[in-house]
């Protein structure tokens, strides 16, 4: 056994003052942040009407609701629900495709390596940002005012909301593309359009296809909820059944949504692998 060397604490302390006596600001930073976070949390509980009695009353109510949900039972409306589910999937597919088609040209305008001018790019980016700042549900409400209740409003809502997201994602994909191939096309005398078509697109399209597939997947989820404000699909049925407290039907509808989302997940995962190989999709 070797005994540890005698250490002269005072000497070490003198040599590394920072380790032994961290300045008060550094020592207090973490507790102060935690205290501030907790203070806001407690203020939030008070301000948002949280009370233990209300919470536990709600919890027992929730327990009853869960019990009443078992077993899931569509009643006699299974065909209607299946049709609504088909509607939801249609909304997701159409909305995403529309968004992708319109976002591609705009994303070129927002990409640094295509439009070098900051002045031109800035408004396009802010425009896309403000579209993204508005939730799909709000867009659905707006479109309902324009084309009336029904799934078509849902398609347009998803298309507009995703247009903003795609514009940003596509332009990022374009910006991260390898510039050498574009230069190669330019060196062989290609025009600007040739550069985009043969230099950029072959690199960017697989990435974009992956993103579009991913969005179809996530839009299946969004499409289920826009029905709540009246824009068609299974959300409409779900909101109605919740309002009339038909809990068995509600649980059946939720199960249907879960199964549909899982199925779409599975399919699009396979397709993504087929299109872009085993590369991860951002």
């Amino acid at each position: 056994m070797t005994r540890p060397q005698e250490v002269d604490t005072a000497q070490i302390r003198a040599r590394y003052p920072d380790v032994f006596e961290r300045p008060a600001s550094a020592r207090l930073a973490t507790p102060a942040m935690i205290a501030a976070a907790l203070a806001i949390l407690i203020y939030g509980f008070v301000d948002l009407d949280f009370s233990p009695s209300r919470f536990f009353a709600g919890l027992s109510q929730l327990g009853w609701i869960t019990l009443m949900m078992i077993p899931p039972d569509p009643g006699s409306s299974l065909p209607i629900y299946l049709k609504a589910l088909g509607e939801t999937l249609s909304i997701a597919l159409l909305g995403t495709t529309l968004a992708a088609v319109f976002a591609l040209p705009v994303s070129l305008l927002a990409a640094r390596n295509i439009v070098p001018s900051n002045i031109l790019r800035f408004p396009v980016r802010r425009f896309l940002d403000s579209i993204r700042g508005v939730d799909t549900l709000i867009w659905a409400l707006v479109w309902i005012n324009v084309v009336g209740l029904g799934p078509f409003a849902g398609v347009l809502a998803i298309a507009v909301a995703d247009f903003g997201a795609f514009g940003k994602l596509f332009s990022e994909a374009i910006e991260s593309a390898d510039q050498k191939q574009v230069e190669g096309i330019r060196a062989s005398g290609g025009s600007a359009l040739h550069e985009i078509r043969f230099g950029l697109m072959p690199q960017v399209l697989p990435v974009i296809a992956g993103q579009v597939l991913y969005f179809i997947e996530s839009n299946t989820r969004s499409a289920t909820i826009i029905g709540i404000v009246g824009a068609g699909g299974i959300g409409l049925q779900l909101a109605e059944q919740i309002r009339v407290l038909e809990w068995q039907r509600v649980s059946f509808l939720i199960l249907m949504i879960l199964v549909a989302v899982a199925a779409i997940d599975f399919i699009s995962g396979k397709l993504r692998f087929a299109i872009i190989g085993r590369r991860a999709v951002a």
Binding site: G44, I65, E87, L89, S130, L137, S222, I225, I254
Partner: protein, 294 residues
């Protein structure tokens, strides 16, 4: 200097050319097939979603004029000519906005806490038992897949109208989403510290606390901030189903055609989302360096 490009004899060339053409035509065929299937799916979807291009074209003017209308005050002037009149309800709206932010803050914090408690059971490398991992993963998946607003609809009935339902809905949805992301961070963590601590005879809890947590806190905080950003958006629509926040004001304004109010509230929401985006981005960059900005 001359470069010699060797040209193959015609016979060999013809065979190569034929093979090349065959490969190209096979690829084209596959592409064509894929496009055809996709187009067919689109047509089917269009029928399913009752797409009516005539409605769209005849009403598209409405869409444009809708924005014209929401940017016009009741006296027929543009909204920005009289900002005081445009934002007449700013006191009330700011209060609702603060409530929205509070809902997303409390919801995110509760969700992150639960996700933190659960994610070690869901991660492949730290879960104490396979059956526990399976159960926790399915639980998180459920919380993640059911949209937040559906939870809100149910909670409004169980807990009564008001922001509490919104907070709980956001908390549950965040638990699901963050639980998955957190457990992925844990799966990427270095296991050597765990082995080191276990070799001293420490319990599972001590292993997590002293080997895993120090590695992952930065990632956790980064994802939680990102989630907060998303939850602000989510909370802004919770009011649609009566679960508190500024969405309540917005849906009333849209449904009752208070046009200039719609644009004022929308602008408030957009600006807030911008500010939160920038602030959390800055905070993440500040706290965790550039690489954590995903």
């Amino acid at each position: 200097m001359t470069t010699a490009v060797s040209i193959l004899p015609a016979q060999q060339l013809a065979a190569l050319n034929a093979a090349y053409r065959q490969a190209v035509s096979r690829r084209r065929l596959r592409l064509l097939l894929g496009t055809a299937i996709f187009a067919a799916a689109l047509v089917l979807a269009a029928i399913g979603a009752e797409v009516n291009l005539r409605t769209l074209f005849s009403y598209f003017g409405n869409f444009v004029s809708y924005f014209d209308r929401i940017l016009t005050l009741e006296n027929g002037q543009r909204v920005w000519t009289d900002v005081g009149e445009w934002f007449w309800g700013w006191r009330k709206w700011l209060k609702m906005l603060a409530e929205t932010l509070l809902i997303s803050y409390v919801g995110t914090l509760i969700g992150a806490t639960f996700a933190f408690a659960l994610n070690f059971f869901a991660a492949e490398n730290t879960s104490p038992a396979p059956w526990l991992r399976f159960v926790v993963r399915r639980l998180l998946e459920f919380a993640r897949t059911v949209p937040g607003i559906v939870f809100a609809l149910v909670f409004v009935i169980a807990f009564g109208l008001g922001p509490m339902a919104g907070v709980l809905a956001i908390a549950i949805h965040s638990t699901g989403a963050l639980g998955k992301l957190f457990s992925e961070i844990v799966e990427n963590a270095d296991m050597k510290p765990v082995e080191g601590i276990r070799s001293t005879g420490a319990s599972w809890l001590a292993c997590m606390r002293f080997a895993i947590v120090p590695q992952v806190t930065a990632g956790y905080a980064s994802y939680a901030l990102l989630r907060f950003e998303i939850n602000v958006r989510e909370a802004s629509v919770m009011g649609f189903v009566g679960a508190g926040g500024i969405g309540q004001e917005l849906v009333v304004a849209i449904r009752k055609f208070y046009y200039s109010d719609v644009s004022a509230i929308l602008l408030t929401i957009i600006v807030t989302v911008f500010i939160i985006d920038i602030a959390t981005g800055w905070l993440r960059g500040r706290l965790f360096g550039k690489e954590a900005r995903t």
